[in-house]
């Protein structure tokens, strides 16, 4: 009350919001179940699933605000509460202005109706009457590039066509604040470009946008603020770069944990390797400039049968570089090596280095390291998207 200017530029205020879902262990949707439950002394067993715990943040007017988190972290629940679809159990949400009521594209689309009829139905859900929709109809169809298909039933549309149509309608919604959940998950490159153009347009118009996405590229490109939610708790409220790093790290940790589980499980059904050999590599040190790997190998080989260790650097499942120990470094018996990789050659991203041990004579794989040796190059580099840069020199003349 004392500082009206402060409160006026807040678009959405989320104040200590907690949401729990009561999940009956055996969902009682029948009265018989209820009666039996009552006979047992009314003790129905519930699992209280806490979707969000004491979450607070403010979205200012004109913010392009990202909610980031892994699957099941509670970010969609948050979005649904912002949209007014769920009610918080504790705390409150204040919305200052007109908010889009939907969180997904194509809500209420009916597959048995034609594209045309769906446009009007969807438009009505967004608050437009028939007359207004008729005014916009041609633009919508043109933007979706679906002129020839409008009288066909929606069930004959491809999923990409449906999304295009839904998106074309959704962007007509006239509100000051938009909620977007995973719009970019579907659609081809051209559609994504359309989405990006639309986001740019929203930014120019200084609209408030709350955006939930797994696409850290888009988050960093468009958002000016982000929060990170993990297991229903708001862990961080800061810049998109910080939050994107947290997300990447978090994902990696769980991938590593998964891998360890897998490697324990798969002990028997991996590739059949001779038992006499073993290879372990571990990250010994990582700084901004270099990565040092500790390599240990064990074998019963002699001078006649030397081995080599091969590395490859992998990003997004594709190998971008391969190295081996020099072949004149004839590895035999047991040994210990260190390997140093110059990190200044890498652009921002997450990488892994699987290592293998091979026989020089037959090039046969004899052992592979369980550790994938992950490393991340942090940072937010909107210009250089590829994995690596080559050593080069520049001179200004």
């Amino acid at each position: 009350m004392d500082a009206p200017n402060d409160t006026n530029d807040i678009a959405i205020k989320v104040d200590h919001v907690t949401k729990t879902f009561k999940l009956p262990h055996d969902k009682q949707t029948s009265i018989k179940g209820l009666l039996i439950g009552l006979l047992r002394g009314g003790k129905r067993t519930f699992e209280n699933q806490i979707a969000l715990k004491d979450v607070s943040f403010d979205v200012k007017k004109g913010d392009f605000f990202a909610i980031v988190g892994r699957n099941g972290s509670g970010k969609s629940t948050m979005l649904k509460m912002l949209a007014g679809i769920y009610e918080p159990n504790k705390g409150g949400i204040q919305v200052n202005g007109k908010l889009t009521p939907f969180i997904e594209l194509g809500v209420g689309f009916n597959h048995d109706l034609s594209g045309r009829e769906n446009v009007f139905l969807n438009g009505a859900l967004l608050g437009f009457n028939r007359k207004e929709m008729e005014g916009m109809y041609d633009d919508i169809v043109e933007f979706a590039e679906l002129e020839r298909f409008m009288d066909q039933k929606l069930k004959n549309y491809s999923s990409g066509m449906q999304v295009r149509l839904a998106f074309s309608i959704a962007i007509r919604a006239q509100s000051d604040m938009l909620l977007l959940d995973e719009v970019l998950a579907v659609g081809d490159a051209a559609f994504q470009q359309k989405c990006f153009d639309y986001f740019e347009e929203l930014k120019r118009q200084n609209k408030t946008v709350v955006f939930v996405s797994h696409d850290m590229g888009a988050v960093q490109r468009f958002c000016n603020r982000a929060v990170y939610i993990k297991n229903g708790i708001l862990l961080h409220d800061g810049t998109p770069g910080e939050v994107a790093d947290m997300y990447t790290l978090d994902n990696m940790e769980s991938m590593q944990a998964n891998e360890e589980k897998q490697s324990k499980k798969q002990k028997d059904d991996g590739p059949k390797l001779p038992k006499d050999f073993s290879l372990t590599t571990k990250v010994a040190e990582q700084t901004a400039e270099k990565l040092v790997l500790d390599v240990n190998y064990k074998s019963k080989t002699t001078k006649d049968d030397p081995m080599y260790v091969a590395f490859s650097v992998i990003r997004d499942g594709a190998s971008i570089a391969e190295m081996t120990t020099p072949l004149d470094l004839k590895l035999t018996g047991d040994g210990h090596l260190t390997y140093t990789l110059d990190l200044s050659l890498f652009n921002a991203g997450s990488y892994e280095i699987p290592t293998i041990l091979c026989l020089q004579s037959s090039r046969k794989l004899v052992a592979l390291s369980k550790h994938k040796n992950r490393f991340i190059i942090k940072g937010n580099d909107p210009i250089r998207g590829a994995s690596m840069r080559l050593p080069d020199t520049w001179q200004q003349k």
């Binding site: 048995d112 139905l121 009457n129």
Partner: protein
Amino acid sequence: MKHIFSKQNRALLRELVRTDFKLRYQGSVLGYVWSLLRPLLMFVIMYVVFVKFIKVNFGIPHSAVYLLIGIVLWNFFNEMTVQSLGSIVGRGDLIRKIRIPRWMIVFSSSVAALINLGLNLVIVAIFMVADHVAVTETLPLILLILLEVYLFALGISLFLAAAFVKYRDVGYIWEVLMQAGFYLTPILYPLSQITNVAIQKILMLNPMAQALQDARYTVVSHQTPTIYRLFEGGYYLFIPFIIVVFVLIAGLLYFKKEAKYFAENI
């Protein structure tokens, strides 16, 4: 109250009802004609069975129209409550993904039922003209009676739609109750068939029985036994109206309380 009939809500209501109708008659050759043809054929069957074969005697002229009014009103009540019952669950996709007033969904089902009622009343009117029913000055009162039936059905619909989200048995229970109600309401038989006056009185406390007899009184014949005649001015005659008001308020309150949690309970 103001934004109940806001521009957005009116547009939404229109599209929801339109979609309902479109989908209902989709793939049929006759399309909308069925909404007239279906009640007409049903009526012909009932007329032949009850008036021609069983020879139910309502003790008044125009027994065909008399029977028809009963069937039309009951069908409306049945259709509206049954359609509304499943409406919230049936529109779960909307409830979970968009913020629209929840009551709009029940309301749109009720409007669809009202439109069908209108079509059915056209058939009644045609039969009245064909059967030379003399229109009396009480005819306009039918609108008040229809309003009463609608509000009664609306209260029940709101309650059922909300309860069905949590307990799917409600659907089966209501089906049975409607079956019982059909026979406990003097639709196919004259009230005078029941010789015990006490039972007659109890049956007439049901708002549907009261409304039905009133409708027959205003439209067809002033000889119709109504609750006013039965109770001869006693205060008991207000009971059906009290029931209607109570059901409507209770339905609204229960729906309002549950509506917040529809999205997570469906």
